[in-house]
């Protein structure tokens, strides 16, 4: 099993529903966010290109955050989901420094928190909260090891990119372009 997410930049309207859904699903404190929207504009009026991305932890295959954790609080679970065990975390911040995507933050209670790919839902076969709510169906979650899964098909048929591949993290969030 290799969980991944595909994010269709061509369909996303940047409404932020994924951000709110995550907030209410996972009770993310106000002022914090496990996912967010990036807008990229290139060109000169009227010859323009706009890309909208919903970003989150990339649940990388090569996990600098897990490697750098001194206690093992940051770890990888079934399907390649990167998680943090709250009562093993000492709050040193090393994993935050190690993440090229700035996907982690200190929860006000002190431990490090981040996107969990909604493992409490996905382990039951449901979509993540952000995927389930996205009004434009820009997000697809699934198993890359299953070549018939919708996400595998999408990644076969569409052009995609990952973020900062040069950081060598092998991200598992794919941006369809």
């Amino acid at each position: 099993m290799r969980y991944a997410m595909a994010m269709d930049t061509k369909k996303c309207v940047g409404c932020g529903d994924c951000v709110v859904a995550c907030q209410t699903e996972n009770n993310v404190p106000l002022g914090y966010a496990r996912d967010w929207i990036v807008e990229k504009v290139e060109g000169t009026y009227p010859s323009l290109n706009l890309e909208l991305r919903s970003e989150r932890c990339n649940h990388c295959e090569n996990t600098p955050c897990v490697r750098t954790c001194p206690t093992g609080a940051s770890h990888v679970i079934e399907g390649g989901i990167v998680k943090v065990t709250h009562d093993e975390c000492i709050g040193c911040g090393a994993c935050i420094q190690a993440c090229p995507y700035e996907a982690r933050y200190f929860h006000p209670d002190g431990y490090v928190d981040k996107c969990t790919f909604c493992d409490h839902r996905t382990s039951k076969g449901q979509d993540t909260a952000c995927v389930a709510v996205c009004p434009t169906h820009s997000l697809t979650f699934g198993d890359l090891d299953d070549e018939n899964s919708p996400i595998s098909k999408l990644l076969r048929n569409r052009k995609w990119k990952t973020l900062a591949p040069e950081a060598g993290t092998k991200p598992n969030v794919y941006f369809l372009i």
Partner: protein
Amino acid sequence: MKTRRDFIKISALAAGGLAVLKPALSFSSGFFPDEEVPLDESEAQRTPTICEVCFWNCAAFAYKDRKGKVQKIIGNDIDLHSKGRLCPRGTGGPGMLYDKDRLKKPLLRVGKPGNQKFKEVSWEEALDFVAKKTREVGEKYGYESIALLDHGTTAHHFEHLFKSFGSDNTAEPAIAQCLGAREAGFINTYGAGIGSPEPTDLRNAKCLVLIGSHIGENMHNGIVQDMSTGLDRGMTVITVDPRFSTAASKSKFWLPIKPSTDIALLLAWMHVLIYEDLYDKDYIEQYAYGFDELKAHVRPFTPEWAYTKTDIPPQDIRKTAYEMAKAAPSVVIHPGRHTAWYGDDTQRTRAIAILNALLGAWGKKGGYYFPEKIRIPRFPHPKYPEPEWTWKDITKDKYKGAFTGVTNILIDASLPDTKLKHKIKAWYVVATNLIQSIPDQEKTKKALQNMEFVVVVDTMPTEITGYADVVLPECTYLERYDYLRTTRHKIPQVALRMPAVEPMYDTKPGWWISREIGLRLGLDKYFPWKDIEEVLDWQLKQVGSSLEEMKKVGVKSFEREEPLYLEDGEDYFFNTNTGKIELYSTDLDAMGYDPMPVYREHPQPEDGFYRLIYGRVPMHTFGRTINNPLLNELRDENHLWVNPKIAKLLDLKTGQEVWLRNQDGVVSTFPVKVRITERIRFDSVYLPHGFGQKNKKMGRAYGRGAADSEMITRVEIDDVTGGTGMRGNFVEILVEKPQKEEAES
């Protein structure tokens, strides 16, 4: 060329520059501080609701955590409005419920009108006062002189109250300030309006044309979803917008039009379709009236002519016309929703309606389907009294095409020096912040001061609550029942809103408030029920359901009675004078308006001024949600979009605070940060609507960004419907706050 470091600074600004303010907010640790773990949906208690964060009214379920707090709201899968997916505002609904800045107790003004001092009173006292004042004004000037300015679901309860005491002077800003012109345009063409949700068959369309409609920035849920599905299927999108909107970025063709010249483009498209023989001849032959007149009318309006008006190259006009013709009849020229722009708005939407007809799209798969809704009988009550005069008597001589009360006309009738033959003496303002939702704030304020009394029913302390004599705090949609939603859609549906939690604080549902006022006015016979559950159950039983059932399912679908689309060659009677689609409008002609759309020049900004273009952000419903903690997180202020060329000229930096001054010398109360972006034309600036709130009681929203509505003092009235065109305002950008005297001069 900018470096990455500059981007960091930009993103800091885009993030809202909240760094300073944020720690001051009381919610530092958790919106739901009690709950640590995510909610288990299978164990959680859920209740059906209908979202009221915007007018789309999606059906959903509210999920409660173990402590009985609404933790999340998820769309109802069978609901056609949401298709199981709410937009950010719907998802952020709990933020509205748990916003600590809510109105909590009935408030009564202390001292003279216009001051902002209130005392908290009991419901008894507040309602007695409202009833006493209503009766006083009613008896002195006639109940007709009381106007209801309203919005949303709660409006229905008060409309019933008003009809019960004999006033039909009801108006929604949503009509005059938004979709009135569109409805008139389509009624005068097809004999039927568009309605909500718009019956555009985007799921099957091959081509979608958006005229200034920024779908995706307006999160009209169903349409946004449909458009996305369309994009998946390879639907061509053509967007006409002076701004590179989100929708424009998804479009195959973006026509960056010179603002105010849309009719020129629409006429040129008609010209191409007709003179290059691309229109649907059979359809026009069978269903349309006045084709020859139209053909003669659009003869001079070549793409070359339109180029001189619109800045859109003729080849692009032709190419896009071909694209539409290729897709016809599976093509939608979208009617838009906020259509009050330049004062010739009914004519513009008429042009859109005509274009749809030329393409044979009305009533066709992939074009406009015929929506259907189920008729639910009203709970029996005696006939309403006949008012002596209604909105029609003060509206129709001038705006003959108006089909409901027009907010701004009612406001005109409320002014001390009104020339209208009837006067308005008191207002009920229900769930609409008139200061922001109506242009020309000074006029609204003048009217407010002339009222014998003003009662405001709302959930939040907005600007308008400051002008009320009585403020009645309504509970939010998550704490109340309302009338059933009978969906007008591909399949008729009924949906139920029921309380997820008991009303918080000392708030009450709208139905209860209107009934209590009614009882105090001795209108018992119009409220022959104890509570709304009785009404809903009775109504549902008339259509073979029950409250019991609906509490479980939330939404129930019914069979259609008529076909969804026109069969090829099918006989069809359009509800117009001629029984046909009127390309040449006999009604408009008879009323003395142009029977076919005519292009007229509109004022352009003078040197140093830029046209103020306003619009929506997807995470907010106008100004109503800015204070919602969950949505405020996403966007807590607006930015003024400025083209880099203008920024260079004025030496502006991204993130710099500026003030706006419009053509009438009105200066924005609050500064707004600049965003330098290529996404806007050089002759315009763009300011998302809803920000710059002035009521200090809205802690998160107060003073964040600038209000476009404050800058809209020049109103171009739509001559057919009386709607308020707001796009003819021009602003200059001030880098320093002007002195007070100067601001007032």
